[in-house]
């Protein structure tokens, strides 16, 4: 379930889709509903967090993607992928550019598309348990929800290459050291810290805060468009379908990791 509330100028968007907020058409529709309804006049800040135990988000819904590719004839794959990617990019861009101070609270898994969602936030607060990674190359693709341009916006190319080309994950302390996370807090303290940060943001002049955000965090439009095309091309190859099949059919508690 995905729900939200607005209290004293601070929105709280709670992601609660089991097992770990996989991003597929259901999550996408819920995020679109939120964005259509968000009142940017009354609110000053937005806190995005997960209410599921496993973490912030495990990324794209690979089971849904596998079924979608399996059931459609190959000649329809490009259009279907493009339709989904255009939709998800629109959601990510709208979140990124919201005229509110946005704060992501991360615990546990923050992988792939979930990491890409986190990267739309202005401020990331990570609990000790947080783990960030882009496992996409293990599936024969690259991040496709805008993750590479947004990661490059925040951290150095050397770190971006290490994360992408090895698929390895990093903890909250490392994420803070490289400038991805601004606050690291004990497990269970993320929401309190985020609310305190959000309340601080509500004290400032709105126009100054909005101008600061626009100036400091421009949307990397050209790179986002390039990433889409790379993703759509790579995702049509048999290597992805084979990797998804292995992942979906595995009942090993250790995830499929080439």
């Amino acid at each position: 379930m995905i729900e939200w509330s607005l209290i004293e100028g601070v929105y709280e968007l709670r992601l609660g889709v089991e097992p770990c907020n996989e991003i597929g058409t259901t999550m996408l529709a819920a995020l679109e509903r939120f964005l259509d309804q968000v009142d940017t006049e009354s609110a000053h800040a937005l806190v995005i967090r997960s209410t599921v135990r496993g973490g912030f988000s495990a990324g794209a819904d690979l089971r849904e993607l596998y079924e979608e590719l399996r059931q459609r004839p190959e000649r329809e794959h490009e259009d279907a992928l493009r339709e989904f990617i255009d939709r998800i990019h629109s959601v990510m861009d709208r979140l990124d550019m919201l005229p509110l101070t946005t704060i992501g609270v991360i615990h546990g898994i923050c992988f792939g598309g979930g990491f890409e969602l986190a990267l739309t936030c202005d401020i990331l607060i990570a609990e000790r348990s947080a783990r960030f990674g882009f496992p996409e190359l293990r599936l024969g693709i690259i991040p496709g929800f805008g993750g590479i341009p947004r990661l490059r916006r925040d951290v150095s190319n050397a770190v971006v290459r290490d994360l992408l080309l090895t698929g390895r994950s990093i903890n909250a302390k490392k994420a803070q050291q490289i400038g991805l996370v601004s606050q690291m807090v004990p497990t269970g303290e993320g929401l309190r810290a985020a609310m305190a940060t959000a309340r601080q943001a509500t004290k400032f002049d709105r126009e100054a805060a909005k101008t600061c955000k626009r100036f400091m965090k421009p949307l990397p439009v050209e790179e986002l468009a390039q990433e889409k095309e790379h993703f759509i091309r790579l995702a049509q190859r048999p290597v992805l379908k084979l990797a998804l099949k292995k992942f979906v059919e595995s009942d090993d508690p250790r995830p499929y990791l080439p």
């Binding site: 770990c20 898994i109 994950s169 508690p253 990791l257």
Partner: protein, 77 residues
Amino acid sequence: MTDVLDRLIRLAAKKYGADADALKADDDVFESLGIDSFAAAELMSELELEFDVEIPDYELQGVKTFGGLAAVIDKRR
């Protein structure tokens, strides 16, 4: 190495409510703690912070036991 194994077992047992004294070097980490892949990732973060090391995921491929995990941590210290 023994020190690492001992600390690793005690930390993991405390976190997941297992009996540290019953856990041995050859025990399977997932099975003996009853954890899934989400909890395993969380455990890796805790271990990295506890031992002040970075453990790339690819160094853990094929590692199943507490002893194997302790050896990987020990090499990174």
